[in-house]
């Protein structure tokens, strides 16, 4: 009888699998990506060559992708951000890139690609990046008030501030505010000062934003007036006619983050598909698309430069003369401490 039940279960399962399966057919490329990155504008070249887009499997955050891959989920390429690569590399998830198969490798942003040069092998193809700086609503906040990061500590703006629920961006802010613009050389004292600063800032925080849509909503609805924000947010909000300021040049500086594709060890798909996908991403039209439509920077530096400084400045991606905290990989033990400390701070400790 139990066997019958089990057969019944298996039968229903078979129907469902049979009716919806588009499961890993040998020739397909499986991309483990952030939700939303299946936008065809990013890989036109791949579509033209193969006719069908790759199969996407989505993650909501990198740690979830990491757990999934470590458990044995098979994908060909994934899209982590700078702070995760070392961890993924140490866990043995990554294969070195064969840079001779990447057509525009020389055009790729040098800082970003060199950040993941481990023993002469490159492990990440940087494709998207952005800046983190002060976004503010000019109808409620004077531009001169956001000339310094210390505004986040100002009791006058208590409850009108939102910080990212993202340990890297938040500590980039805290380090900059306490005079450190290169966190790879941060000392214990630097870390303690940054944490103390963040603790003060926490008192003014209305809520920590988790994604661009939430932040747009917070700013536009009047819930908060100042935020430590990605450039994507002011760019997309202006497209919708909202007047929002973005200052990347407070005296202490602002930050840059970046993400990219990695070639996963033991991916089930054909390696040539992986490189077709990479090459499609690096085309100039993909760069143009991501800058204009998404407000993100692109890993192909030459293509980004070709867009001209007007476009870049408008998108919050141009050059600035203040210190820039580049979110390059840092010592894992410092990062672990940052993570633990940020959780305590968020909880009010």
């Amino acid at each position: 009888m139990q066997r019958m039940i089990r057969n019944g279960l298996a039968g229903i399962a078979a129907v469902i699998i049979g009716s919806t399966a588009g499961l890993a057919e040998g020739s397909d490329l499986v991309v483990l990506d952030w939700s939303g990155f299946d936008d065809e504008g990013f890989y036109q070249g791949y579509l033209e060559k193969h006719g069908t887009p790759p199969s996407y499997s989505f993650f909501g955050e990198e740690e979830e992708a990491f757990k999934k891959l470590r458990a044995g989920f098979a994908a060909d390429v994934a899209h982590p951000c700078s702070q995760s690569i070392s961890k993924w590399h140490e866990a043995g998830l990554l294969e070195p890139l064969q840079i001779d198969r990447i057509e525009r490798w020389d055009d790729v942003n040098a800082n970003m690609k060199e950040a993941f040069n481990f023993d002469g092998n490159y492990y990440m193809l940087p494709v998207d990046w952005g800046t983190t700086a002060i976004a503010y609503m000019p109808d409620r906040i004077q531009a001169e008030d956001v000339e310094t990061l210390q505004i986040f500590l100002d009791p006058d703006y208590a409850q009108q501030i939102s910080l990212p629920d993202n340990v890297d961006d938040v500590y980039a802010l805290a380090f900059l505010a306490t005079g450190v613009s290169d966190w790879t050389t941060a000392s214990e004292d630097d870390f303690a000062r940054a944490s103390a600063w963040l603790r003060d800032a926490h008192r003014n925080v209305r809520t920590y934003w988790r994604d661009g849509a939430e932040l747009s909503q917070l700013l536009a609805s009047g819930e908060v007036s100042i935020a430590w924000a990605w450039n994507e947010t002011p760019t997309t909000m202006r497209l919708d006619g909202v007047n929002v300021g973005y200052n990347r040049s407070p005296v202490e500086g602002s930050s840059t983050w970046f993400c990219g594709y990695v070639d996963l060890a033991g991916g089930p798909g054909d390696e040539s598909l992986v490189y077709d996908f990479f090459n499609a991403w690096l085309e100039a039209r993909s760069a143009e698309y991501i800058v204009n439509e998404w407000g993100y920077g692109h890993g192909n530096q030459a293509a980004v430069d070709a867009l001209g400084s007007d476009v870049l400045d408008a998108a919050g991606l141009g050059a600035v003369s203040v210190p820039i905290l580049f979110q390059s990989p840092m010592d894992n033990s410092l990062r672990e401490k940052m993570i633990a400390e940020f959780e305590l701070i968020k909880t009010g400790f």
């Binding site: 399962a13 469902i16 757990k67 747009s216 997309t236 006619g241």
Partner: protein, 271 residues
């Protein structure tokens, strides 16, 4: 009950329904609003967000996947729930409480732990991730809810009815069908509804256990991150709500018409 307290109760029910529908009432408002900022005042009327839903195959797949997963999970969880509820309310046997405890455990376990642990088990058994793995997880998650409701339905059934029925020469099966099923039917319907709702809305397990096919909540999670896509999601929500309500009303309409044709009073109902 006096007329006054009856009126009070009706008034309360009105407020309760407004509370239940409060967030969803805003859906159509902003789904037709031509701004990506979801706030008052409204800026203008547009149907563009609905048009934008038409040519997104990923969305259509996700919707169908979700319905399939939710329906299957609801039916399976309710079947398991009926067995567990009947067993533990009608009979006494060794280890009953321990066994029931294990069945109820997924309710206490944080979903993320179920998800991570499950992921390891499924991949180690050599299965690849698919909708089937999501269903396995959802059945596990929904069964405790189903048991909790169905135990209420099965509890305290008067055994005298059963005995009387058997005395009259009915088989146990006939007794079950004629006596017990009608008495527990509201519980079965409630269990199906709860399981369906949980599964349709679940995305922690679905995120971890999905392969290249997504379910609707996972898809929506992705879309909600981008301000430009938020109105599309609201349009989608409006559409789903309208379809659900429409289906419900249509079904009710046809049920009544069918009953009238058969010359039955509309008082007779499935429930």
């Amino acid at each position: 009950m006096s007329i006054r307290s009856s009126a009070l109760l009706s008034l309360y029910v009105g407020f309760f329904l407004i509370f239940l529908y409060a967030p969803t009432l805003l859906l159509p408002l902003f789904a037709f609003n031509d701004s990506t900022i979801v706030a008052f005042p409204l800026s203008g009327f547009t149907t563009a967000w609905f048009a934008g839903l038409l040519d997104v195959p990923a969305l259509h797949e996700a919707t169908i996947n979700s319905l399939a997963v939710a329906l299957t999970s609801a039916v399976l969880a309710t079947c398991l729930g009926i067995l567990a509820a009947r067993a533990t309310t009608r009979y006494r046997f060794r280890l009953m409480h321990g066994m029931l405890g294990l069945i109820m455990l997924p309710m206490v376990l944080p979903e993320m732990i179920i998800a991570v642990a499950f992921l390891v088990v499924i991949l180690h058994l050599g299965f690849s991730l698919s909708l089937f793995s999501i269903i396995l997880g959802h059945v596990l998650l929904c069964t405790p809810f189903s048991v909790a409701i169905l135990r209420t339905a099965f509890q305290g059934l008067d055994h005298n009815y059963e005995d009387a029925s058997t005395d009259l020469g009915y088989s146990r099966w006939a007794t079950f069908r004629l006596i017990i099923v009608p008495m527990v039917l509201p519980g079965v319907v409630a269990s199906l509804l709860i399981s369906f709702t949980i599964s349709l809305d679940e995305f922690i397990i679905a995120f971890f256990l999905s392969g290249t096919e997504t379910t609707l909540p996972v898809y929506i999670w992705g879309q909600l991150r981008f301000p430009q896509r938020v109105p599309n999601v609201l349009a989608l929500g409006t559409l789903l709500l309208a379809i659900s309500l429409g289906l419900m009303i249509t079904a009710e309409f046809f049920r009544r018409r069918g009953l009238r044709k058969l010359g039955l009073s509309t008082q007779e109902s499935v429930l």
